[in-house]
Amino acid sequence: MSTPDNVVSLERHARRAEPAEPILSVNGLRIVAANGRELVHDMHFDLPRGGTLGIVGESGSGKSLTCRAILDVLPPGLSVASGSIRYRDVDLSRLDAKSWRALRGVELSAVFQDPGSYLNPSIPVGRQLAEAIRATLKLRHKAARTRALDLLERVGFADAAAVYRQYSYELSGGMAQRVLIALAVCAGPSLLIADEATTALDVTVQAEVLALIDTLRREEDVTLIMVSHDLAVVSQVCDHVIVMRAGEIVEAGPTREILRHPKTAYTRSLIEDHAVHAIETGRAPATETPQRPALLSVRGLHAGYGIRTVVQDIDLQVAPGEILGLIGETGSGKTTLLRTILGLIPTATGAIELDGQRIDGLTGTPLRDFRRSGALQYVFQDPLRSLDPDLTIGASIAEGLTLREGRLDVSAIDASVTAALRSVGLDPDLATRLPRLLSGGQRQRAVIARALALDPKVLLLDEPVSALDAVNRLHVLKLLRHLADERGIAQIFISHDLGSVAGIADRVAVLYRGQVVETGPAAALLANPTHPYTRKLLEAAPRLSGAAPATTARTLFTAH
């Protein structure tokens, strides 16, 4: 039986600090679901003190479950079937609740993907931080406050006193993640687990947060486990990498070694996935944009909310079969621009034309008729939220058809739904399923199928692949390229993942503070950006550092 004594003895060990001894040692870890299905099989690693370990894999590979098992916070229904997790000389699987309280959040702490949901929206973030400090370090109010302010400064807030009083909803994703990092390190942990901690952030912010984690790790002598679906993110911070797939270790070793000499096809695919432009689009990238008449054109557009102008002086043209990549950080106006084209936000000045017809300023019946025509379709970022949870996939796809055609007989609807599902490479049998029973990749295709069912001329895609893991992202990107080439569907594609944009866009427009600062053929623009902001964006993108130059990230932007 393990008792609090163990925790005390562990404190003593900490001071002795034997570098040879692993600080965390996982052996033969098996995690099973209530129905007996094995989710993680024989996970094992030793992590030396001060070491950095990255665990990489697509969603469902068991990487997050492993971390949750280490912290003893597995989701209900899942349990550790066998194996051991040793932290210093304590067997964590035998610890009781009381000992856990002394350990979790103090010695072992974690940062997760969605920082907003871990902060209480009704209490200023500084006070939450101070409370955590009081609870773990047993400090008095004033001392806790001073330390909280100090920590906020350390995680990169210039005006810590102002942030201290702010609420979580007033912070951007990057700021909230910094606060969460401050919370995670406030008690001076020995082990920090960062589970997809930068996934939800834009490239520029992601780079800053990664740098912050790396700095804190060095300064505070923290051992780090970093979990991500993105090999590039992990490779920037971690010395060692474990690649997981379907609950098993595919490959493990020093980061440089794995990047240079991947042993398995799967790891190679993860590395190559980063050089997205290597997608076989079946077509040489256009060096000069062919002079086709524009299908969708935006001229001199100003738009915003109320008196606040968000996008200004936008001029964009998209030809049939052309994909225009739209890049820029959060708040640059990408989504506002798409929503204005869709007529969800009124245009202040300027014109939007689709196929020679003005579509801005439509209201009432003309607007409804235009929307029902299905010529312009929108694909949302999160497929799960854009599908009604109570309707089957088939019913969702049929919705637009029935709105346009009035009452259709069942067989005609079924035929269209089947055709739409086939065109995105999904099994037509999925039509009878509810959205939650589909995987993330299947759902995003179903959403695209819903748009395709109406035979659109233009698709507007708002971060359509950012919620997907590497493998599914590649499939969806290939699908979109195929739709442009084979069906001539023009597309505007927003992504904060420059690799995806480089992979499929013909042309790229860079949006900065609501204005297009640079536009041009994708390959040329990403290889030789002229505007300083574009250069900053490109530099911030995570790369596979240390990999052999021939296969990787370097080539990401220097196409052909």
């Binding site: 929307r371 029902r372 929108y378 854009s386 599908l387 009604d388 109570d390 709105l403 109406l454």
Partner: protein, 273 residues
């Protein structure tokens, strides 16, 4: 939903009780062994006997027959109130979310005003205005429980109003009515069903208390609450008198509340699955 619901023992018990009550309401008047209005001057205030199972009241009427005959009116009256509450509450509740700021403001203030009204005073005023009858009284009760349905359906609709799938439908040219029919009703229905069950229970006690106070009751027609009232006035002679009607009211209200609870639990469990 039904299958999950049946896993709760309380829900099964509630359904059995409600089935019995429904049978009583449907066939009660025909099941009665005596004419509920027939007076037997030779047998006043009697205890239970073979002829009169629950005894007789001060006018010599068979209490058991009156209880059975009163079921229909009592149950129908509470269902009437709940139906009025649903129609007047749910529809504006949904529209308050989708019809824009002005409608929303007016709707909310009206509902606030209704919530402020003292229930008994309002019911008495309504019956004074419309005439003293059970239908009028239940109409008043229906209006008074409107805010509950308004709030519940509005809250449920608010949680989905900004959903991306509703925006997607709008972008495909769906009208507000089509969006409500297709995407909103199914989200609001579980919440409304739960409040309908608990409100039916509440209305049943309201019918009882109103008739007990003499509002809405038209003697000599029997209702459960009316029986309770007459039995209380002869408590010294028939101390066991109020037990049977009270038991019936309590059991029905309990069953409805238990069903509402189980429905809510089953709903949240299914969402998690």
């Amino acid at each position: 939903m039904t299958r999950t619901l049946l896993r709760y023992p309380s829900a099964r018990a509630a359904i059995v009780i409600l089935a019995v009550v429904a049978l009583l309401a449907a066939f009660g008047p025909w099941l009665a062994p005596h004419d509920p209005l027939a007076q037997d001057a030779s047998a006043l205030l009697q205890g239970p006997s073979a002829a009169y199972w629950l005894g007789t009241d001060a006018l010599g009427r068979d209490v058991f027959s009156r209880l059975l005959a009163g079921s229909t009116v009592s149950v129908l009256a509470s269902l009437l109130s709940v139906s009025i509450g649903i129609v007047l509450g749910v529809v504006p509740g949904l529209l308050s979310v989708f019809l824009g700021k002005r409608f929303e403001w007016v709707g909310l203030r009206l509902i606030d005003a209704l919530m402020m009204l003292p229930f008994l005073v309002f019911a008495i005023a309504m019956t004074a205005m419309l005439g003293n009858g059970l239908a009028q009284a239940m109409f008043a009760v229906g209006i008074l429980i409107t805010p509950a349905f308004f709030r519940v359906s509005r809250a449920a609709a608010l949680s989905v109003a900004n959903a991306e799938y509703i925006e997607a439908a709008r972008l495909m040219g769906a009208s507000t009515a089509a969006i409500i029919r297709r995407h909103v009703v199914s989200k609001v229905l579980p919440a409304v069903a739960v409040s309908a069950a608990s409100m039916t229970g509440a209305c049943l006690s309201i019918v009882a208390s109103l008739t007990f106070l003499g509002i809405g009751v038209v003697p000599p027609d029997p209702t459960w609450g009316g029986l309770l009232a007459t039995d209380l006035s002869t408590l010294y002679d028939r101390p066991f008198g109020p037990i049977a009607p009270a038991l019936l009211i309590v059991a029905t209200v309990w069953a409805l509340n238990a069903l509402a609870d189980a429905m809510r639990d089953a709903g949240t469990q299914e969402q998690r699955a």
